[in-house]
């Protein structure tokens, strides 16, 4: 349970709290820091999804999922060449 895994965090673009203005990355970071002091964003995404990827424990992922504006916290998948 303490082991960190990569998650892709989908956020609701239109639910950004007014305090963040239009600074979505700041909102992403603030949401992340509220569940994990040590977690860092791997990527932020604005076009393909609205959100970011990060390393979290299962517990942190569950906590993040409950925050306002979070649509989904999905574990990373591994793909293979065909």
């Amino acid at each position: 349970a303490d082991q960190k895994k990569t998650y892709i965090v989908h956020m609701a673009r239109h639910h950004i709290p007014p305090t963040f203005g239009e600074d979505h990355e700041y909102w992403f970071g603030s949401s992340l820091k509220s569940v994990s002091e040590s977690a860092e964003m791997i990527y932020t995404y604005q076009n393909v999804i609205h959100g970011f990827s990060t390393r979290l424990t299962d517990q942190e992922a569950e906590s993040l999922e409950k925050l306002p504006g979070i649509v989904s916290v999905l574990p990373e998948l591994k793909y293979e060449l065909h």
Partner: protein, 657 residues
């Protein structure tokens, strides 16, 4: 690639494509293992300036600089942060932390889709010819997302993000990740955004065939590509001491075997391992194989590794036999020692002889490259098959294209077998997979985009699908190599791609992102699931009736409900509506024909005639499927065709109980 341009009719006189002027404005993005920029297939001689819309870059990294790109290879990026977050820093003694391809797969796919013309291409003398990508004047941008340890979805999403902002027109992904629902599948999610922005996304169907329900990349906004054979083979016969001969295939080039027959031993009898027949590393007893041919069973480890294992143990050569899992499919390999691959039936006969004869002998005779092999194409056994496990009402794969024994560019970092102990370096390699068929379709989509710049991704896919063919010139249906029988739409989708016809399809089934949104509503997605895939803040309309069957898809998959409410006289009635857009002559009249391979499925189409008065005019029709009772698990196939006498707009039909 060599041969596929001829096989696809692209070299025909009068083909529209050679005169297409917009091709150099089309940019194909490839997510793969990177690129070997020194490949002659990236020669940019005669290419004009990079399109003004291009926002991409040539990223620097280990053994890769901005100078690695040119007017053909206009972009190269790498995405490793997700990979490194999981597996630690990339070991730069083993792979380049840059867009450089250490594997070969990415160079193969990118040159297949958009490589320049290279004369005299070959692999060790095999498949010689003029090699070219399907869209030889299109621009290529490579996004490296796959590393030694795999391809991670956080990197794939990041690459798709950049490809969208870089302004690619086509995205080609020869990778997959099983059968996650769309809202869990990063490729599907990324492809939705790309499609919404007018980018056609072509993906490989997977190599998990011939098992049913084995497809990857099945979302309706993705073009899903299965694999077929060419009319080319690389025969290498096995001649046994009992006088019998069996055909096999090989790409071996090197010191030949003696002219005399050599002793042959079954690997299972030359090993202390219970799985010795597989020729796994360290399992063969050198004293029992030295100087002999070794018969190995296919499976578990790589085919070329088995040859390496035999060579290391002192064997003189190898006969590799398919098992039930592969049937009669013959995939050629550039083995490190004289070796050939035979089908299951031949392998069983050879095994019987080798085990039962007191002093069995054999020889391998290499015949080089043969063209004109018939029948072709044949659906590859490995090509993944429908039904679609996520949404059975969407028929997948969409189409098949050449994917067996394809020659294309290769990395200079690795030999043709990909084995660490292969010291050979080649400019081109021959490999197989739906990874190879996907970039064929990506390149052809680029040609269509160039010829019809206003067409949507769905229109391009529709043109490719409705003009594809399902029968040989003699009228027989395209065979399935797995069974030797006629293939079905679950194997070949709409059929084998025919780009010359696709450029002038007459009518297309168009789709927008809004239609895909409605499709997700029909799946009863939750608001969160909808938002993950579409990023939209809007929800499904509670007052609206959504139907998966009404997605304006160029094919029909009817799933007969077990508790059908539309019963009429013991039959089930299912209605699907479609809309056709006229992209042919302004004034045209199309009449419909329907075909079903079983009386249990009756189709009626209303109206049965569509008259168009102008270009881009849309007309709708409804198909009523009247379906009789059949056993659960039964399938009936058919087709619906619209024709004006010149164009035939063909849709496959699959009905499943």
């Amino acid at each position: 690639t060599t041969r596929t341009p001829e096989f696809l009719g692209l070299e025909q006189k009068g083909s529209m494509f050679p005169q297409s002027t917009g091709e150099s404005d089309v940019i194909i993005g490839i997510l793969d293992t990177g690129v070997w920029p020194e490949s002659k297939s990236f020669d940019d001689t005669g290419m004009g300036p990079v399109p003004a819309a291009w926002n991409g870059a040539c990223e620097t990294g280990t053994n890769f600089s901005a100078a690695s790109c040119n007017r053909k290879l206009i972009g190269a990026r790498f995405f490793a942060k997700g990979y490194e977050a999981t597996l630690g820093p990339i070991d730069e003694s083993k792979e380049n932390r840059s867009p450089r391809d250490d594997d070969g797969h990415g160079t193969h796919t990118s040159t297949t889709t958009g490589g320049s013309v290279v004369s005299g291409a070959n692999l060790l003398g095999y498949a010689t010819g003029s090699a070219r990508g399907m869209a030889p004047r299109a621009r290529v941008a490579v996004y490296k997302v796959c590393w030694l340890g795999g391809c991670f979805s956080s990197d794939i999403l990041a690459a798709m993000e950049r490809a969208i902002t870089d302004n690619v027109n086509v995205l080609s992904l020869s990778l997959g990740g099983g059968t996650a629902d769309y809202y869990r599948d990063s490729v599907a999610i990324g492809a939705f955004s790309a499609t919404e922005k007018g980018i056609l996304v072509s993906c490989s169907a997977g190599n998990a065939g011939p098992t049913s329900y084995s497809l990857s990349n099945v979302s309706p906004w993705i073009t899903t590509v299965g694999a077929g054979t060419l009319d080319r083979d690389f025969p290498a016969y096995v001649s046994l001491g009992n006088g019998k001969n069996y055909s096999g295939v090989s790409l071996y080039r090197g010191p030949t075997l003696p002219d005399t027959l050599l002793p042959i031993v079954y690997a299972g009898n030359a090993s202390n391992s219970t799985s010795g027949a597989l020729c796994m590393p360290g399992t063969l007893i050198p004293e029992k194989v030295k100087g002999k041919l070794v018969l190995c069973d296919r499976g578990v480890n790589a085919r070329v590794q088995k040859g390496s294992v035999v060579k290391t143990a002192g064997g003189a050569g190898m006969v590799l036999t398919n098992t039930a899992a592969n049937g009669e499919e013959l995939v050629a390999d550039a083995h490190l020692l004289p070796a050939t691959t035979v089908g299951q039936k031949a392998g069983d006969e050879i095994r019987k002889y080798v085990i039962s004869d007191s002093a069995p002998t054999a020889a391998i005779l290499f015949e080089g490259t043969k063209l004109g092999i018939q029948p072709s194409p044949v659906v590859a056994s490995f090509s993944s098959r429908g039904p679609n496990s996520i949404t059975p009402e969407i028929l997948k794969p969409d189409i098949i294209a050449p994917g067996v024994n394809i020659l294309a560019g290769w990395s200079g970092a690795v030999g043709p077998t990909g084995l660490p102990d292969d010291p050979r370096r080649v400019e081109f390699n021959i490999i197989s997979g739906t990874s190879m068929s996907c970039p064929h379709v990506s390149g052809l989509a680029a040609l269509l985009k160039a010829a019809h710049q206003d067409w949507s991704p769905a229109a391009i896919r529709s043109a490719l699908m409705t003009t594809s063919y399902t029968a040989y010139k003699n009228g027989n249906i395209i065979e399935d190599l797995a069974t030797g029988k006629p293939s079905t739409p679950f194997d070949h989708g709409a059929g084998h791609v025919d780009p010359v016809s696709a450029v002038d399809p007459g009518l297309v089934y168009d789709l927008t992102a809004d239609d895909y949104f409605d499709f997700l509503c029909a799946l009863n997605y939750t608001a969160a699931q909808m938002q993950v895939v579409t990023k939209r803040n809007t929800s499904c309309d509670a007052a609206k009736t959504y139907s998966i069957g009404d997605l304006n898809y160029p094919s029909f998959a009817v799933v007969v409900p077990s508790d059908s409410t539309g019963k009429s006289g013991g039959s089930t009635v299912v209605k699907h509506t479609r809309t056709l857009t006229n992209v042919g002559p302004a004034s045209s009249t199309y009449k419909v024909s329907t075909f079903s391979d079983n009386k249990s499925v009756q189709m009626s189409v209303v109206p049965d005639t569509l008259t168009f008065g102008e270009v881009n005019e849309k007309k709708s029709y409804t198909v009523t499927f009247t379906v009789g009772p059949m056993a659960v698990g039964s399938n009936v196939f058919g087709r619906i065709e619209w024709s004006d006498g010149k164009h035939v707009v063909r849709s496959p039909v699959a009905v499943s109980w």
